[in-house]
Symmetry: C2
Subunit: 486 residues, 2 copies
């Protein structure tokens, strides 16, 4: 999702796409309890109201590792949600085992992938990819599973090692994984080491090998020449201790919460940018339309991406604060919204990556996925154009193998209506009344401290952004001062 | 298939791969006639013996366009073989219609694709790809068909036009296609024009954007910035008038010939290089093993690629002459071999292209496909390594969506056995006895007029190559002379 509010220019109407497999809800809601849920108790942070009321959030209540979670809405890929956290009773023994193995040191972003895999976002994947999975991902954006059907798997989820580490592993069948801070994270078993052809991986994942692709520069270029696949087990849930871990709900936790709320539809909204009123409009409009279709309790999963993002994106903590203001202000309804952090790092790989974003939300229990203009896209790093055709994301998503069971909701373009003085769906019959505010323009407003047009974003959310950019400028100024005075 | 005879280094045994879905033949051969075929009458060209005996080769006996060909061995993709040649009775009317339309001028290679599509090699594709097909091909190497299943489609089969042609087409719904010589070729109907993002197409197809990829330099770089898709109809079968058209058997003709011969297995061998005794060994060995498995009449489809190849490959006419010597010499048995030209241009796109090579042979009626080391591969254009991992081709092929019904036969490595003085399957227990003769080495032999080791290639076939390289040198010398004397 780009920061731009020129959301898209397609001609598809929201929720009016029979060819996309959207169906009326079943008249009978499974697991319907006779007693309806009581209104949740609100906490100071409205985003968390639902979470803190959920019994599943008590960390000691971890379900057994092998339990199969069945959601009333959508099955996880492969039928069972993967959970690779070693049960507490076996943790000490597993740590001893890991300690004795050759070690692989993880980067910060490797650890984000460990997080993703261990909680089942990539179900049915049970570890870093072996070569046969890597090749299927690279060539087919999908994996064939045992019953002959396909699950979507568009991004290679791989772990790179260098020559020295490969040498050290030798003929060992298993390795221990060590976090960036030196702490033991887990074990990778029945390993397979194979060549890391970076050029091919980049070209097939991004459809470009241009210098300046953020994930490539950050992760792939400095990585080793080998990939190591195997079955993952982690000693404990991955935590970041950044004050945001309570937002990091696992797919299992989200599914339980949806069930607890008796959601009969869950619509996911992936974002890596602040929420403006154009986003809010389409989320609220989606809910309204789902109600019109007969769903009784559609729940919004507002799901900001929490892993690696490029340096000029708004950082996660600022975004979470901004999102919380949007809910506090009532722009989104806390009672029908769940906010969680999606732990994946960002690839900026457009149509390839949007499949991953959607597939992971199937595993989290969402049966509707909202997709806009140029999802997971960015400007071409060396040419003056978008890296991807802005319409390809939604097209590819609607055709992708393994995503058949997910309802894709392409959304209509929203823009600032200068007459109504609010964000509204673009009306081509009075085009001149609409103002498209680009991400660059919005950032320029925030940096200069100038206000955007009334109704673009709720004032408290906007203030969060202004303060962030002000703090950046202060920081820059003091750095320049430091340089000057040395 | 590379010219090198270091065919591969994998550990898979030919016909011993249960996981690849190879099954014993059905005990009852469908369509078995009580009277067995009479021995074919041999013509001077042994490659053609089978063809010239076939009743289907009479050009007037074209079956009706809509007829569904059912083979006893393997169904065409999509269930029906596509045939886009306008019936003779409608040809004049169609030509008049085409004449009145805006025109698109085809290059020589565009026309090769017209040939490929019109005869059904790419079934169920009925024309140049529209954007939804292009995107599926690029991202998933497969197309979803109406019943929800997938057919393989790894290469984008597209037609590029420039801005001026797009302008000329305007809002017309159909265009006429004109050959490189100015002749009317056919019509493309219900057209769709969409952007030709060359960088993305190249990166996703080749897994590289390095300068020097032959098809890219020849076809894509000079092409226009738009792609035009639509339904194809051709006025007549594509002919080349190069003395080789009788080798250009359509999938329909090949299927008829397999049926006429009562083949109970057809194994296809794709090549773009001269046949040496290592190739012959594995083709003969494959037949022997198919017989061991209980097949009664396995037929080899020796299927050299006839479209665009890079300048340093041996040209088609020389290869066909060489192949004919190999059959004359009895290295391959003319009675159990059919030689045809596969009209596709070559992409040199390795694991992506080998899928196309295999898929097209399904449509031609082959139910076994032989795959060796580094299929459709080449050296990296700018680095000192193979462009593709030599084992990826066979791995990708064995996992590719839409190729499930095809038996993939990865072959064992053959090399020159210096003790036995012949090409033999490599025996690692006496590795030092084996000599790997690379393609470069072989070309060097042929250029210098030096003979390769006895038993590398039949002498008459070798002579064809030597003569070809001698003629090249003469030509070069006279060109140099011409330059010097001007």
């Amino acid at each position: 999702m780009s920061l731009t509010i020129k959301l898209h220019d397609c001609h598809l109407n929201l929720l009016n796409n029979n060819h996309l497999g959207i169906s009326k809800p079943k008249t009978k809601v499974p697991n319907l309890k006779l007693k309806f849920r009581t209104k949740p108790i609100y906490h100071s942070d409205p985003l968390l109201s639902v979470v803190y009321n959920s019994t599943m959030h008590a960390s000691s209540a971890r379900p057994p590792q092998s339990a199969v979670i069945k959601s009333s809405l959508i099955d996880p890929d492969g039928g069972a949600l993967v959970d690779l956290v070693v049960p507490e009773s076996q943790r000490a023994a597993k740590a001893l085992e890991a300690e004795a193995l050759p070690k692989v040191r993880l980067t910060k972003i490797d650890l984000e992938w460990v997080h993703v895999i261990s909680e089942g976002w990539a179900s049915p994947l049970r570890g870093f990819m072996r070569e046969d999975q890597y090749l299927q991902s690279l060539h087919f954006n999908s994996l064939r599973i045992e019953d002959g059907s396909f699950v979507n798997m568009s991004l290679p989820i791989v772990l790179a090692i260098d020559d020295e580490t490969k040498e050290r592993i030798g003929s060992s069948n298993n390795v221990g994984l060590v976090g960036p801070g030196g702490d033991l994270v887990g074990v990778l078993s029945s390993i397979e080491i194979y060549k890391h052809n970076k050029e091919e991986r980049i070209a097939r994942t991004w459809g470009s090998t241009a210098p300046g692709l953020p994930y490539v520069e950050e992760v792939i270029t400095p990585a080793g020449n080998w990939l190591i696949g195997g079955d993952l087990e982690v000693l404990d849930r991955v935590k970041y201790n950044d004050g945001l871990d309570h937002y990091r709900l696992s797919p299992r936790q989200l599914r339980k919460e949806f069930d607890r709320r008796q959601a009969d539809a869950v619509f996911a909204f992936q974002l890596r940018n602040p929420v403006h009123n154009g986003h809010a409009l389409l989320m609220n409009d989606t809910r309204r339309r789902l109600l019109d279709m007969g769903y009784k309790n559609p729940i919004l999963l507002l799901h900001p991406l929490g892993g690696f993002t490029k340096p000029d994106d708004v950082p996660l903590d600022v975004r979470m604060e901004q999102h919380s203001k949007v809910l506090e202000d009532g722009v989104l309804d806390p009672e029908t919204t769940i906010v969680g952090i999606f732990p994946s790092p960002m690839h900026y790989a457009g149509p390839t990556e949007v499949q991953w974003h959607a597939k992971a939300r199937i595993n989290a229990g969402a049966n509707f996925y909202i997709v806009g203009r140029d999802p997971a896209g960015m400007g071409h790093p060396t040419e003056n154009r978008d890296l991807y055709d802005p319409d390809h994301g939604k097209k590819v998503l609607s055709m992708a193998p393994g995503l058949e069971k997910l309802n894709i909701l392409p959304f209509r373009v929203a823009a600032y209506d200068t007459v109504e003085k609010k964000m509204a769906f673009f009306d081509p019959s009075r085009a001149k009344d609409f103002l498209f505010i680009s991400g660059t323009k919005m950032r320029a407003y925030a940096k200069s401290g100038e206000n955007p047009p009334d109704g673009f974003m709720c004032p408290s959310g906007w203030k969060v952004l202004v303060n962030y950019y002000k703090s950046l400028q202060t920081e820059e100024a003091s750095q320049q001062q430091a340089v000057l005075s040395t």
